[in-house]
């Protein structure tokens, strides 16, 4: 996902990024619909979703969140992550910039249909919440023989 972008030809990411940029240009323009659960760019926390044939990984870039405040639930293939982050400022201070998100958040993410809600693990390291969800075996593609 984070392949060096100076190698556009080889980067799996570059093709994806171009498609995303084109999608962004068309956002809101008739007749392209947006996902019903999609949120505006820049919504906190930023998330990345990646998949392999065995699992789906969701990364939430939420620094400084108390891990106990995370509320993660998976219903079928709908993942909901809620949490809270307080940005503490001194009371008698002059505030020059306040760019960091302050408050509660909730993101709902539509995952591929074959995720298994019974096999979910989550880890919070250095401000990134990583959620791993295994996919159901049955979804693996089967070779179809031609007789």
């Amino acid at each position: 996902m984070f392949v060096n972008l100076t190698n556009p030809g080889n980067s799996l990411f570059e093709g994806f990024r171009r498609a995303q940029d084109e999608m962004d240009e068309m956002f809101g323009r008739w007749p392209w619909p947006a996902g019903i659960r999609s949120v505006a760019r820049g919504t906190y926390p930023p998330i990345n979703v990646g998949s392999t044939p065995e699992q789906v990984d969701v990364y939430l870039f939420a620094a400084g969140v108390d891990p106990k405040s995370f509320d993660i639930s998976l219903q079928q293939n709908l993942l909901t992550v809620a949490g809270e982050r307080r940005a503490s400022l001194a009371n008698d201070a002059n505030v020059y910039r306040k760019e960091r998100f302050d408050g509660g958040f909730r993101r709902v993410i539509n995952l591929p249909e074959d995720v298994d809600p019974d096999r979910v693990t989550a880890r919070y390291t250095d401000g990134v919440l990583q959620i791993h969800i295994q996919r159901r075996e049955a979804a693996r593609p089967r070779q179809i023989e031609i007789k």
């Binding site: 972008l5 068309m26 990646g50 505030v95 306040k98 250095d126």
Partner: protein, 134 residues
């Protein structure tokens, strides 16, 4: 899914003549809170994914430079389905002013949040100015 992507590409090329740009690696600008009180200036930056070993905090003359490299563990062959974050490099810099004591800067990194405290030099802490009225 492949069909939809192709359709999108077709419409895009009809509407715009721009050749796809070759961009250098994107660097992320971490959001910061900066506030000042009587003792000095405090800067708080979000650097999710950056551990102490991948953080580079420097003072260069009067510039405060924050650089960090996020490390996200990912299984081999993972494909991106959706990505808000498209780089692992954070960088942001600020110019400090003379009354700040760069020697006494202290910083703390926890759960991806960098807090930098830059005290003011003792002799320049605010003194109230008395106004004499004749």
């Amino acid at each position: 899914m492949a069909n939809t992507t192709d359709e999108r590409k077709d419409v895009a090329s009809r509407e715009s003549n721009e050749v796809s740009k070759q961009e250098p690696e994107t660097v992320l600008r971490p959001p910061v809170d900066i506030f000042e009180d009587a003792h000095g200036i405090t800067l708080v930056a979000d650097l999710p994914g950056v551990g102490k070993d991948r953080l580079n905090l420097q003072v260069d003359k009067d510039a405060l430079i924050i650089e960090g490299d996020a490390r996200i563990e990912m299984p081999d062959g993972m494909e991106a389905i959706y990505a808000d974050v498209r780089s692992t490099r954070y960088r942001r810099s600020f110019t400090l002013s003379g009354e700040l004591s760069t020697e006494e800067i202290n910083a703390n990194l926890k759960d991806g949040v960098l807090t930098v405290n830059i005290p003011k030099r003792a002799e320049v802490r605010p003194r109230k100015i008395d106004v004499h009225v004749e």
